[in-house]
């Protein structure tokens, strides 16, 4: 028997690791790569935006918030009057596109929006005065391509290879994609929490990454968002014609469910998309909106544009025109969305970390409770055991006397 156990123990330690088998991503994510010559590439976008920033330096500034694995710069366009000054009395709004490189309309709508704003700003028309109000009284930050490497490769994920336990890049095994992380699963709010999901699998199209914020792109967004105070944010994706709001990681509603639905309905009145809580579509964790809302107290929405990942360019144009109005609407309500929001935002900041403050009170409460708990449980245990010990001694004594 002992030999058998010894053998088993040895086998236990010798069993090698096996790589995780590939699991296909949700059907929704599988992209059929169609080359569209009329879409922007990273290079053509960079040229176009640089040109706009130069020719409209009174309302546009362009800067980079980081560099990708393949060395591309992550561009941010700021639209505001006095674009080089951070005007603290103007509410900040964030627009992001192309977390997923194969979802091209998601950055096209933003490039179109930037063009639209620069063009209409000087126009003497209703549209012109609407744009002027927004530009003069808000600070709009636009990250058209969060994942330019993915855009160039026409892949959903970022493009740094995933590594095996020995530091070797994972091999292509024919199923799934061994390269990259789904950036929209990589944010550090409830990261890695939702399962069942295949987000832990590096071959999956929804791979969450080795750890939260392990990707250069999400790190850049994190640091950039951290230095601003975004009241509202939109993250564009394709496709399904949906407006999604947090939470994505749980079916529970947020504390601001009504507010979210109110604004989402406002968006829906413009683009006629369906409104739902993100987790109703499917549960995800580590997505940008959960993080923006949960960690950064920003009212964050995901918009799933259109009916396919790469629609014909005329269709993209229609979508872009509609979403100019969505972008303007979001900017307009940013001074006080739903009234109570701003108060809540401040309160949330106060609440956070109050028990972790190094105050005498928190130490006292902690120590008192520890003493009570250990007193009752360990004290009770000790008391009971001492009674039992005494009683056993008595029994031994009695036993001897009876003999």
């Amino acid at each position: 028997m002992k030999q058998v156990f010894a053998l088993i123990i040895i086998i236990c330690f010798l069993l090698p690791f096996q790589p995780a088998p590939a699991v296909n991503g949700q059907a929704h994510y599988i992209s059929e790569a169609k080359e569209q010559s009329t879409y922007h590439s990273y290079a053509s976008m960079t040229t176009e935006l640089t040109g706009l920033a130069e020719s409209h330096s009174d309302i546009v500034s362009m800067f980079s918030i980081g560099t990708t694995y393949e060395g591309r710069k992550l561009w941010v366009i700021k639209l505001s009057d006095n674009p080089d000054i951070d005007e603290s009395d103007e509410p900040d709004v964030l627009y992001m596109g192309a977390h997923h490189g194969n979802e091209k309309p998601s950055y096209e709508v933003l490039i179109y929006f930037i063009n639209y704003v620069t063009e209409k700003y000087y126009e003497n028309s209703n549209e012109g005065s609407r744009v002027r109000y927004v530009v003069n009284n808000r600070e709009l930050y636009i990250v058209p391509m969060v994942n330019p490497d993915g855009v160039e490769a026409n892949k959903r994920k970022s493009q740094e290879p995933n590594y095996g336990p020995l530091g070797n890049p994972l091999p292509d095994i024919g199923i799934g994609d061994p390269v990259g992380v789904d950036l929209n699963r990589n944010y550090d709010y409830m990261w890695g929490m939702v399962y069942p999901a295949d987000s832990a699998n590096p071959y999956s199209n929804t791979y969450q990454g080795e750890s939260a914020f392990c990707e250069l792109e999400t790190q850049a967004v994190r640091d950039f968002v951290g230095s601003h105070d975004f009241v509202l944010s939109l993250s564009y994706h394709t496709y399904s014609e949906l407006i999604l709001y947090p939470w994505g990681y749980t079916p529970q509603p947020t504390d601001d469910d009504e507010l979210f639905r109110g604004i989402a309905n406002g968006i829906s009145a413009i683009n006629d998309y369906e409104v739902m809580q993100a987790s109703e579509l499917y549960m995800t964790s580590g997505d940008a909106c959960d993080w923006l809302y949960g960690e950064k107290v920003s009212l964050a929405f995901t918009i799933e544009l259109g009916k396919e990942h790469s629609p014909p360019i005329e269709e993209v144009l229609n979508i872009s025109k509609t979403h100019v109005l969505v972008n303007l609407y979001i900017a307009e309500i940013a001074d006080n969305p739903g009234g109570e929001w701003v108060i809540r935002e401040e309160k949330a900041k106060e609440d956070k970390g109050s028990i972790f403050d190094d105050t005498l009170g928190s130490f006292a409460a902690m120590s008192a409770m520890m003493m009570i708990m250990f007193g009752v449980v360990w004290g009770g245990l000790a008391k009971c055991i001492s009674i039992a010990v005494k009683s056993e001694k008595m029994k031994v004594k009695h036993g001897k006397m009876e003999k």
Binding site: L15, A200, P202, V377, C384
Partner: protein
């Protein structure tokens, strides 16, 4: 019949059954989610209104009848109710099916940690491991063979000896892990999070219900363990004080494990927010993905990881043993030998545990989760059955004749009657309604579908199938009991 060599053998065995993996991965999560110290207040209260009174009743019944769960119910509640004992047998055995798989995982992780080979990506380690059936089955088999071997050696030579060594060892290992965690910079945030009572939580029903559920699941009350282990008591042995020691011991282990887990998470996460996020992840993912990863962040952490998973293995083993013994005792009452009963139950546990080991989706063991969802709650029904047996006998009569026999070290007062008559049914109703409400509200579109793994219908369908089968077989189940 074989007896415990000493009182301490019984106490350690009962503690061993009560302290399981739930103390280590479920308790810290529940405290974290329900307001720290506020949760603990409720949790302590329910120790005295559910777990300990039930353990007292079970110990007394087993000691009186000298039979396993089926025989106990036949003798105690009447021939018609032998199926209730069979229900307890089914619940504890079915829990054993998947518990062996979980124990296998824990052993696997111990070997990974002890050989110092935790990879940096623990998600991949976890999903890779549970989706390779042969590896999982191999470790399930290891878990089963070790447990079966202990039970095969009998009460005094097997169960008693093993628990006398492993339970003190378990406490020491947990203490080492806790002290290590406390020495990390930033651990004090974990202590604050764990202990500072956020009093607003005391006004929430969820806090109280979670505390009751934790107390009811954690102590093995209702498992039939106490009935079974009491069979091997001597006539002059104590029951009441032993029940208290079991309950306190269980909670004592939970406290230490809570400090070890939460302080590790807080000290090694980048921010308190990140730590709180981690504490909200699922039990399995918390332990096998997040904690495993956090351990590797500190020098010496791999060593602590090995200690942690060794402690988990011990906790699992001593619980697994008790599950086997519950089944073996019942078969022995039907005239089988220990050897034959054990061979039979080991094979059945292996075969019927296979679906839990194999059916996995992504990094979630879906079948296992379903079984845990269904039969974890079955334990609460078992608890109600025990209370029912006491009601039938007469609560005061039970206390006077069977508890306060003169051999007990402490007298149980009339508070016990009040708990069993009034509080017990009340707690049962609240708990079961809350559970049903949850399993419906978590799956708004699919709760009525029996194929929804953690929905409502799956619980009802499986329970009804088992209950109907047992009631139909009631006569046959009860007839063969040999005294």
């Amino acid at each position: 019949m074989e007896k415990w060599k000493s009182r301490w053998g019984l106490i350690f065995a009962a503690m061993g059954a009560a302290i399981g993996t739930g103390n280590i991965w479920r308790f810290p999560k529940e405290v974290a989610a329900n307001g720290g110290g506020a949760f603990m207040i409720a949790w302590i209260i329910f120790l005295f209104t559910w777990s300990i009174p039930l353990l007292i009743a079970e110990f007394s019944i087993g000691k009186k009848t000298g039979l396993g769960t089926i025989g106990s119910f036949k003798v105690f509640a009447g021939k018609k109710y032998a199926f209730m004992g069979a229900w307890m047998l089914v619940v504890s055995t079915v829990i054993g099916f998947y518990y062996a798989v979980v124990m296998g995982w824990v052993i696997r992780y111990f070997t990974v940690a002890a050989s110092g080979s935790i990879p940096s990506n623990t998600s991949v380690l976890w999903s890779g491991f549970i989706s390779s059936p042969f590896e999982v089955i191999f470790f399930q088999l290891v878990a089963l063979l070790v447990s079966a071997y202990v039970v095969y050696r009998g009460i005094a030579k097997g169960i008693e000896v093993v628990n006398k060594i492993l339970i003190p060892a378990l406490f020491i290992l947990l203490l080492i892990a806790a002290v290590w965690a406390l020495c990390l910079p930033g651990a004090v945030n974990g202590l604050k999070f764990l202990f500072i009572p956020r009093m607003e939580y005391l006004g929430r029903s969820e806090t109280w219900i979670s505390a009751l559920a934790q107390s009811a699941w954690s102590c093995s009350a209702g498992m039939g363990m106490a009935i079974t282990y009491a069979v091997y008591m001597r006539r002059k042995d104590d029951t009441a004080l032993n029940a208290f020691i079991t309950g306190f011991g269980n909670n004592a282990a939970s406290l230490i494990a809570g400090i070890a887990v939460i302080c590790t998470v807080f000290a090694l996460s980048s921010t308190p927010d990140a730590a709180m996020g981690t504490m909200e992840s699922e039990s399995f993912s918390l332990t096998f993905v997040h904690l495993t990863r956090l351990f590797t962040l500190m020098p010496g952490g791999v060593f602590i990881a090995a200690i942690f998973f060794l402690a988990m293995s011990f906790a699992a083993l001593t619980s697994m043993i008790s599950g086997f013994e519950i089944a073996v005792r019942n078969f022995m009452d039907h005239g089988w030998s220990r050897h034959k009963s054990l061979t039979f139950i080991t094979i059945v546990t292996f075969l019927l545990g296979l679906p839990s080991a194999i059916i996995v989706s992504g990094n979630a063991p879906v079948f296992l989760n379903n079984q845990d969802h269904v039969w974890g709650m079955g334990l609460i029904v078992s608890g109600l059955f025990v209370a029912f047996a006491v009601w039938k006998y007469g609560v005061s009569r039970f206390r006077n004749e069977l508890i306060n026999t003169g051999y007990n070290d402490i007298r149980i007062g009339a508070w016990w009657d009040f708990v069993i008559i009034v509080l017990f049914p009340l707690q049962f109703i609240v708990l079961i309604l809350w559970y049903f409400y949850q399993s419906i509200s978590m799956h708004p579109g699919t709760w009525f579908n029996p194929m929804e793994p953690t929905g409502f219908a799956t619980v009802i369908v499986q329970w009804i199938l088992v209950i109907v089968a047992l009631i139909m077989l009631n006569k046959w189940i009860g007839r063969k009991i040999i005294k």
